[in-house]
Amino acid sequence: MTTRSASILKPLVFCASLMPVVYLLWQVYLTVSGQTNVLGADPAKTVVQFNGEWALRFMLLTLAVTPLRLLLGWVELARVRRMLGLFAFGYALTHFGTYLALILEFEFSELGAEILKRPFILVGFAALCCLVPLALTSNHLMMRLMKRRWRLLHQLVYPIAMLQIIHLFWLTRSDYAEPIAYSVVFALLMAYRFIRWRQRQSGMAQA
């Protein structure tokens, strides 16, 4: 039973993770073909925002895998962690790519100026850059080769999530309810890790 549920889990999560991008492509198709769509008067901005939001959501989902696995005792969950992480990277890359293509229209000279002048873009860009080595070393081979250093490198994921949240806070103009909600989720996930770390410390001290 366990192996079968595990074999279904991966493709299931894969398909579910593609849903946002499928929805977006559908809306883009509707826009381009002149039909009613949800992208609104400024579709480029909507598309960029949409990808950014999903990048953060997938980041938090990735960080939720380990706590959920331990709390629910659902061991197979660990098998989708890398996939969710790669989707987080994929949406972040699409977020940046659509910003570059649809907002800046590939004017790279402007990109440099924008990144330097606008701190929230700098923060988001830093988060994306830090995600690159994680994505590149996410395969089994790199895991084996890097051994302990792999763990160390992949702990970058925590500051990256923090940068993403700062990015969102910084660009929010009026109502902080949404970034606060994401922060609370992030804080809970981190608190769980902290508590477990404390427990292990005291466990080691006793032993």
Partner: protein, 344 residues
Amino acid sequence: MLIKKPDGFKPSEITPEAVYLQRRAFIRGAGLGLGAMLLPGMGMAAIDANVPVRDITRYTGARQASTLVPDWLHKKVSQAQPSRHLAQEAVTPWDIVTTYNNYYEFGTDKGDPAENASDFRTDPWQVEIAGQAEITGSFNLEDILKPHDLEERIYRLRCVEAWSMVVPWIGFPLADLIKRFKPTSKAKYVRFETLFDPKQMPGQRSRFAALDYPYREGLRIDEAMNELAFVGVGLYGNAMPPQNGAPLRLVLPWKYGFKSIKSIVKIEFLERRPVSSWECSNPKEYGFYANVNPQVSHPRWSQASERRLPTSLFAPNRRPTLMFNGYGDEVAHLYAGMNLRNDY
């Protein structure tokens, strides 16, 4: 004082819609091999110059707005006359003007105000006149509007978020309103306030709002008396839709959109400069003057260019932003000798 008067544009000089659409389609077709990328109902609108202001068919795509508007106001708006302030540009379609709004009292997404303000009650409505003026007190909207003949002005609207529109407003000069209350010599500034009604305005109930409600705005008295400063009571031949600031709002085309305060309930004449809401929430980002200025960049948005709505996915419709949003002839003298980098 001699003020150079700009040449007014006749409505007949505005590009007819058919020509405009053809040109856009051609540009798109040539550039991308995609001819039909316009959003539904979002094609560039135009104004039929042969049809009077009161006739809704004058505007492509316009619809009758809220049914909550009292009859007297409908009638008054329908008597509006064209003015000489008619920007020679294709107007932004009704659908966009009425669904793409920054009105945080009704929600922070652009589409929220249209949804959440649909049954906003603007009748009865009172406006309080206070401060350094001979005539003060509370006035019914009808009495506020009664002596004024309404006119249509087509103005560019530039948002601080670097998008812009062209809107056919209906209203009357702010100067005419101010004169009636006889501000005294101590009246150096005018302060405006939006309705505070958390029951009707969900944004005012939010605990995490960056703005401290009620929304407040201010002008120097000479800015307020400038011929371009306009009190809007309608747009597109209609009474003002609630999401656009019904029943009366400011329209200050040479300043960023947030200066054009909506749903005004109080006008106060002051000796000292008031602090506006955005300035109060974030003084580094938002100044008191907030004149459109491509040279002074905002920390979040470069102000050098703007995206004229509607944009399409692959054509951001970007254009350079003009100093004072292109209204320098009328307003630049107000700021002579000032360093607009400091007084942003």
